[in-house]
Symmetry: C3
Subunit: 349 residues, 3 copies
């Protein structure tokens, strides 16, 4: 467990701090759980009242926060500052050191400096691992795959032959990269497999969640752009191209050959049909189904998805249907229209 | 294959039985597949007619069942009784015996009595395995994880460092426990990773389905309460707290920091947004999207979810829209309102 | 990299070709990426204009295509022909050769001729592997499982004890076959596990996607019919019976005991409730929820699913709600009905 002085933290963050720079903390906790040897942070102004009651040794607060305290460290963005402190001193992830004698590494693989490989990892022919790549136990890297510097594969990851993963990527347990796209040519009742001879290419700084699957292209490449973060149990089909800095939340599915621009966001369990062009900065609400192309920026929702204002107006009108039906009934009563047909006499459902 | 006497079964269950206690059965089958050496059960009264036609050696029936037969064993709950008989005599799951010489176990790991570990299992530093823990081939238990007595991990399970799993739990193949929560602080177009330094804590008697993923907390714990049963391919995000005895059916997703009370049920493919408080005994229909907090007991449905009566009434009214539009048209005809605008003259969609 | 003459390709396909039969190609690419040493194909007439601009050495075209070119090879179905050429010459997947000394194979397992098993594969007691079965690293085959001739398991696949997989099947990375069905008998707040003592049976020529989970039956069998193709992250519950030649797209979930006839198709993220009978050639749109039985042939959509014409009409009417409300308001104005109630005076939502 690290012991860090508040002076070191304030200095690292470029923060303003009037308290005792020699006081140490040994952990980071939420504001209502932090004790006298913990650092905490206030990111959401809704919880400002807790500044008075927290027992934390120090609190990261926004520069403009009203009031003053010897425990405050004023920074530009307390959440980012919290993340930086944790990354710097408290986030060491245990993992393999060196190359396990219980791994299987092909003679033709090129292994960079500082690589760590756990037990029961299999590295195929002609694989290239950059410097400081770390691979946890049970993962499999197929022939000819290339993995960039400082990339981390957790346990039981499967990387198919020929996949290319960039630098500083993180791939979580059970993820599968480069499996065959789902492509068949149907003759009568027989589905002939279309061989999938393309690859997956993942650019730098991508994170891929546990259990997520990314299919290789039929021909060419399935691409995940730099800085994009993908959550757990997401399905990316063959020939999909996702831009840079996108956020793809858990259990999303993107069907084949769809392209997504930079900075777009898919909420959990949303889906997109195949062969669409979804622009940059398109926000898709959770559980929506994108069935046609949208230019960005846009925010869409619903199944099928449409601009969120239309969708919300529509949902509101549906909720008001009982009122509309009652109004219809009153008009019929007054005008005498339809009163003879029995099905109109009751609005019950 | 076990050979068990009907007398032993009736005694074990505390059931009433007038037939030959020395007759043996060697298996358990559905009522219309059972043969003369099988036990079966009648749980659903809809199938009572099959009591006359089944060839089973004996049938577990509810105590109050009308009629009589030398083949009936009367018990309180035939389905529970069936489960108990199968568990007692017919459910032995083959698995590793002893500790495979092909596993990798850190010197610092503490291994309880009667533990069985399969080939190619990796056990990290300072792991604690309770008594009679069984781990099938290919699973990985990260540094510092703790697994309670009698817990069973099937093959290719990934347990990240620091995870805590209780007693008598079952974790199915390919599940991932303790992967990083999906947390980023965005500056411009860069998503900075928020280190996830909390853990996952799974209480006693929990079952976790194949391919399910449960993320570690940012700070603190993601918690699965005692006796909760989670199906396959479920996603539980960071800092979620699920109560005791919940049922979470396949492909459900629960977003970050949401809490769920005891005895709640999520139907398949349902989802819940983050930071919600969902009470005890809240039933969520399949494919619903819970977008706000609900107190229990309650039954909700729809996307977004609302009380199921409202949702069903709304669906019924939507189905009646063609009728309402026709009624509107007849009123317009009679009153002369709107008849000049061409768009009103046809109700086709 | 293969070098193949156009004459050999035309001959293999039974195609008509007037160009230089001795010219060779070394790869297959999409029509707008193909270069002078590539073969390509024109399947969608929408792209016919690219026939003039492609740089490909040769193009597979439909027999009736208007015009002529020395580069064209006329075939019955260009997409099928493309698949056949790729399968024949360009789709070799690297994988294990022979039986890795780093695998663990029970003495009682029966291993057919030509089997290839990668590192860290575990093969249980009494397993039967047919001829030419290939198993990539890290996969686990439980006791008593049977795998037919020419079947391919990619890496980190989990096959539970007793599962039966047919011939010429492909199972992708991380898939789990034979995990326990989700069955509990609830007494008070305790969910007693119903032991799952049935199996999974997968017939010939089935493909199973990455991360897909197929549960074993409570009693009897969960069945996947011959020629059915299942995409990634699909959940098939216990006792489900899927017919022959079905297509089950990514992230679909089929609940327990539901049966599906031959040639049915489930779009991505769709679901079916349990205990349903879904006929042959039933097409289910993406994200739909099938909540009742349907006879085939039929096409259904929506949540809950209904015949697609009804669903589309309903969606169209919902989209027209703003118009209907305006018409209602005009009638009220003219007839004087309801004009005194303030809630009727504004249609805003």
């Amino acid at each position: 467990m690290a012991e860090v002085t508040l002076g070191a933290i304030a200095g690292f963050l470029g923060g303003s701090f009037d308290g005792d720079p020699g006081r140490t903390i040994s952990g980071v906790k939420p504001i209502d759980e932090a004790g006298e040897s913990d650092l905490t942070f206030l990111s959401n102004p809704k919880y400002a009242g807790r500044l008075a009651t927290t027992e934390a040794a120090a609190v990261l607060v926004a520069r403009g926060t009203e009031g003053s305290s010897e425990r405050w460290i004023r920074v530009d963005d307390p959440y980012v500052a919290f993340a930086r402190v944790v990354s710097r001193w408290f986030a060491a992830v245990p993992g393999p050191r060196g190359i396990s004698p219980l791994s299987s590494i092909a003679q033709t693989a090129a292994i960079g400096e500082g690589v760590a490989i756990g037990a029961f990892v299999s590295i195929g022919e002609n694989v290239v691992l950059g410097e400081r790549v770390t691979i946890h136990p049970g993962s499999v890297v197929g022939d000819g795959a290339v993995i960039g510097d400082d990339t981390l594969l957790y346990a039981n990851v499967t990387v198919y032959h020929g996949s290319r993963i960039g630098r500083r990527c993180i791939v979580h347990g059970g993820a599968v990269i480069g499996s065959d796209g789902y492509g068949f040519a149907t003759e009568g009742s027989t589905h002939h497999k279309i061989p999938q001879i393309g690859i997956v290419r993942i650019e730098d700084d991508v994170e891929i969640g546990a259990g997520t699957t990314i299919d290789r292209a039929t021909l060419g490449e399935t691409v995940i752009g730099a800085g994009t973060k993908i959550d757990n149990l997401v399905q990316i089909a063959h020939n999909v191209k996702i831009g840079r800095s996108c956020l793809i939340v858990a259990q999303v599915g993107i069907a084949g050959s769809t392209t997504i621009g930079d900075g777009s966001v898919f909420g959990g369990q949303a889906g997109a049909a195949g062969h669409l062009e979804i622009g940059s900065r398109v926000m898709v609400a959770a559980q929506s189904a994108v069935m046609k192309s949208f230019e960005g920026p846009a925010t869409v929702a619903g199944s099928p998805a449409r601009p969120i204002r239309e969708q919300m107006r529509s949902e509101a009108l549906v909720r008001r249907l009982p009122e509309f039906v009652e109004r219809l009934r009153r008009i019929e009563q007054k005008t005498g229209v339809g009163k003879s047909t029995p099905e109109n006499s009751s609005e019950g459902a």
